[in-house]
Symmetry: none
DNA sequence: CATGAATGAGTCTTCATTCAT
DNA sequence: GATGAATGAAGACTCATTCAT
């Protein structure tokens, strides 16, 4: 039920994972515990479903952004990817943060892995289409880039980031990824030349 | 007690945070619950102590490496920092992974924040001393770099990293940071020239 | 739940406050601990509720008796008050005795204070209406009288009273209060005379 | 040991009976738990000893006062008894209050009973020697009087007494007892006349 | 004799899950 | 299908008591 999803996120953000009990979720959703168990076999399944939905939303947003950048210059890709990822994760920071706690539970890792894999494919595909450079190993580059973005987002969500960095995060990460992408890339012209040899 | 520290890490890695109860820790340590409470006022304090010890170890390792790189070229700094951080975190991967769960607990964030701050200072100081380039804003650069390293390490520890990336992680991150550091830097010669004008 | 009230009193009388645990109460009530906590937020709340019910019963009985004595001679008031209070407290001696232990707990004092205050008002109002005498300070006199009654009842309940006294308690206390009330009173006629001067 | 007595009372008054643990008592006394158990077989024995000492002090004070009033008029006896009892109980109110909690424990009732019996004898003996009146049944009268005093003292210690009453307690109780004693008494002259008939 | 670390039974309290209505 | 009272296992924590040093 939709109400259960929303209620779970509310309880999660307002009370934390430890106090996110089935009774509280049901009460917040205006339903009974019994009803909750008609939609989900147990508490973990509900939490997993909520996490999965959030993750697929982020994946979709990243995928959309990557498709839109097909054939663009690599620097623009870096900026667009950063912007899309930050927007998806920071649109509702409390929710994102709360769900990281859920992800740490047994079973959460698999969902995260799936979402990451999907995003890596999207990013790698985008990188391979760059107009100006040829990325040697798009999958590897995409994965490292994604981990970098995730690292900063977690730091921000967990309150570990200084105001200075937080204020310019998008710029910093855009620059970082641009520099990184170019390190692993070979200019198209040179690549063509190489191929001709 | 030392046995309690070890037991906590064992239970944490083998059973997870949720099943890491005072009873189980005590049993694993070959002690009684009562004894546990003679050394720590409550469960959270024990977990915090274990986390704090690990974090200070990592901080110290990073600090040591940064001091050793004073005055070196920036590319070498990037590689040395990466190597030191990965070595410290991956020396005992199970322990590191288990403690990430603890860090998410109430109180864990403060310890992490403290350790991060300490490492940012070490890294920033090192960057400021680079022989070849002048880093514009060492503190910000250091913080972004640290978050990047953390992001990859978490991905690795949580099993989210592909074998391809894992195999070349140190190289990848070294290159990434080198590129990033140079983005934010101005060649010493140019900087001196600017200063003279 | 009614069964929890009854069970609490039974455990209290048979095992004492120290052994009056939530588990034992629940078992005696034929319920589970969980059920207990669906009716009361914690152990103290249950004990307080049991005490409060008893106290309000005593208060009500005293109030009823006092109202019935409005306008009667003071000696009759003393006897009626004594009779009503003893009847209320000694109707179920085990329960009364057990609850004195509860009253000593944190939070019990407030309930007792409230009940005492209510009874003092009832008694004072009665005293002020005495047909034959004018009580100078009804509130003070009522309070001292109540403490006197309580003192004897506690002695009786705690087994500190000799059989001789116990056998004639009502008579003794009636006489004591009659004598005390008259000490603090002025005959109506004299009072009127004084007022006319 | 003397220090243990003092420490017990301090912990009792400052932390309450529930937090009056053997460890805390020993620490307060500057001793070890082990030492405590060399003087007392268990916690209850220590508490009982502390209570017993306090009670015998009160008994002795009352006895002393009663002996001093031998052969005096009954009104003076009432006042002296009241004064002595209040002084003994209210000299250290916190201690007295804390010990009432101890008295409610298993075993405390017997000690109280013993002290009460002793005081009843002292008071009865005094009453029998009154110069002006002949008390019909000194033991019964003494017991009722004592319970009355105890009732007010408990009310005062437990904070149940209004400031108005507390301010004039000694006067009120003196008057009450005087009135009560005279109710149960026959003037010496009349008594002698009766005896001659 | 003194010490105080170790013990572990016993408390209160929570919460996922069930099932009679 | 919905409900929510009942369950009871499990967790954190306390403390009287013991005993090796």
């Amino acid at each position: 039920m939709e109400a259960l999803h929303a209620a779970t996120i509310q309880v999660l953000t307002q009370q934390g994972l430890a106090r996110c009990t089935t009774t509280r979720i049901a009460a917040r959703a205006g339903a009974s515990v019994g009803s909750l168990y008609q939609y989900y076999p147990n508490r973990d399944a509900l939490l997993a479903a909520v996490l999965a939905r959030k993750l697929s939303g982020v994946s979709a947003a990243v995928d959309l952004a990557c498709r839109a950048q097909q054939g663009q210059p690599i620097a623009q890709m870096a900026v667009a990817l950063t912007r899309a990822f930050l927007a998806a994760k920071l649109h509702n920071p409390d929710e994102s943060k709360a769900l990281y706690a859920v992800a740490a539970q047994r079973g959460g890792a698999a969902l995260i892995a799936q979402a990451q894999a999907s995003m890596v494919v999207s990013i790698a595909t985008m990188l391979a289409s760059a107009a100006d450079v040829h990325v040697a190993n798009p999958a590897v580059t995409a994965e490292v880039a994604l981990n970098t973005l995730v690292g900063s987002v977690r730091a921000l969500l967990e309150g570990l980031m200084s105001p200075e960095v937080a204020a310019t995060l998008e710029t910093q990460l855009g620059a970082l990824l641009t520099a990184y992408f170019q390190t692993h890339a070979v200019a198209r012209a040179a690549a063509s030349a190489l191929a001709r040899e």
